[in-house]
Amino acid sequence: MAEPSAEGGLSFHPMDQFMIKPLFGEYGDPVSWYTVTNLTLWMGLAVVCVAGLFVFATRGRAIIPDRGQSVAELAYGFVYKMVEDVTGKDAVKYFPYIFTLFLFILFANFLALIPSSFSPTSHIGVTAVLAFAVFFAVTILGFVKNGASFLGLFWVTSAPLAIRPVLAVIELISYFVRPVSHSIRLAGNLTAGHAVLKVFAGFAQVAAISPFAILGVAAIYGLEVLVGFIQAYVFTILTCVYLKDALHPNH
C-alpha cells in the first residue's frame, strides 16, 4: 500500500500484495513448503468455489436447471466443446484434467479480484508448475502415443526439403519456449493488472487526483475481470492445442 513516508512523500508498495505470509503465527515466521499461508487460503477458497458450483449448485440434478446448475453446465459444456473442437473427439478422455486447470485458473483469477485478496495465479512459481505439467504431460504422451514419429512434428513435410532443417530448428525452439510463454503470459497478466490497481489506489491518497485515481481503479478493475476470464480461456485453449500436437503430430 501507499502511505505517507517519514519524508512526507508517497511511497508505493504495489508488489507487497504478492507476498506470501503465514496464515497462523507471527508475521515473518519462516515459510517452508508445508506452511499454511495466504496462498493456501486463497487456493482453498478456489476449491471451495469449485465444490460450491459443481457439487452444491448441481445437487438438484434437475432436468430444468436453476441458475447455479445452469452456470455449472455452461462451464462444463464450454470446456468440453473446446476440447472436442480443438483437440478432437479422441481427446475427450483428457477433459477432466483440462477442466481442472481451467476451473483452478478461473476461480483463482476471479477470487483475486476481491479487494485485499491474494492472487495465486500471479505467481510464476504456480503458473510454471501448471505450464510445465502440461508441457511434460503432452511431450510424454506424444512419444507414448506416436513413438519416434512424434518427432515428425518438427520435420515439416509440407515445406521444401531445403528449408526443412531450418524449420526444424525453429519448431524445436518454439516447442521448448511453449511452457515459458504459457506460464509467463498468465502470471504476467495477473501481476501487471494487480500492480496497476494498487498504483492507482495509491494515487487516490492525493486529494487532487483521487477522483481520477478512483475512476482509473474502476476502469482497470473492469479490465481485470475480462483478463481474469480470458487468461483462463487462453491457458486452457493452448493446453488443448498442445495436446492436439501430441495426439496428431502430423497435422
Binding site: A46, V50, P96, S122
Partner: protein, 184 residues
C-alpha cells in the same frame, strides 16, 4: 513487527526490515516450495471433486436432458401422426355419411317414383275405363238416335195429318216417314 533475528531468516530474503517486498515477490525462490506444494494439493482436490462427483453428475444430467428432449420430440411426432390419422378417419366418416345420405335419399326418391308411377298407371287405367264406358254410352245413344228420329217423325207426321183433317193411316205414314228418313 518482526524482531531482529528472523529478519535475517528465510523470510528476510524476500522481505525488508519494514515488512515490504524486496523486488518481485514472485521471483523469491524461498516461497516456491510452498507454492508448488499447495498448488498440487489444490489441483488434486479440484480433480477429485470433479471426477468423483461433479463430472459424472453433470454429464448424467445432460444426457438425461437430451434423452428427455428426444423422447418428448418423438412423443410429439407420434401425437401429430395420431392427429393426422384421426383427421383422415374423420374425413372418411364424413364421406361415408354423405354417401349413405345420398343413397338413402336416392332410395326414397325411387320408392316415391315407383308409387307415383303405379298410382298414375292406375289412374290412367281408371280414366281409360271411364272414357270407354262413356264412349259406349255415347255410341248407344248415337245408335239409338235414327230410330228415335223416325219414331218422332212418324208421330209428328201422324199428328200433322190429323191436324190437317186427314185420316192418318198408320201404314202409309210409316212408309212415307221411312222413305224420307232413308232418303236422307
Amino acid at each position: 513487527m518482526a524482531t531482529e533475528p528472523y529478519q535475517q531468516d528465510i523470510a528476510g530474503e524476500c522481505v525488508n526490515t519494514l515488512g515490504n517486498a524486496i523486488g518481485m515477490p514472485q521471483l523469491c525462490d524461498a516461497w516456491f516450495g510452498n507454492q508448488i506444494f499447495w498448488l498440487l494439493v489444490t489441483l488434486v482436490a479440484i480433480y477429485l471433486i470433479l471426477t468423483k462427483i461433479a463430472l459424472p453428475r453433470v454429464s448424467a444430467v445432460l444426457a438425461e436432458r437430451s434423452g428427455t428432449i428426444s423422447n418428448d420430440l418423438a412423443a410429439a411426432e407420434d401425437l401429430k401422426r395420431q392427429a393426422v390419422e384421426a383427421e383422415t378417419a374423420y374425413e372418411k366418416a364424413l364421406a361415408d355419411a354423405r354417401a349413405e345420405a345420398q343413397r338413402i335419399s336416392d332410395e326414397a326418391r325411387a320408392a316415391i317414383k315407383a308409387d307415383l308411377d303405379a298410382a298414375i298407371a292406375q289412374a290412367d287405367e281408371k280414366i281409360a275405363a271411364k272414357s270407354a264406358e262413356s264412349q259406349k254410352a255415347i255410341d248407344e245413344i248415337r245408335a239409338g238416335a235414327p230410330a228415335s228420329v223416325a219414331e218422332v217423325a212418324r208421330d209428328v207426321a201422324a199428328e200433322i195429318v190429323k191436324a190437317l183433317g186427314g185420316k192418318a193411316d198408320a201404314a202409309t205414314v210409316n212408309a212415307a216417314v221411312d222413305a224420307r228418313v232413308k232418303g236422307n
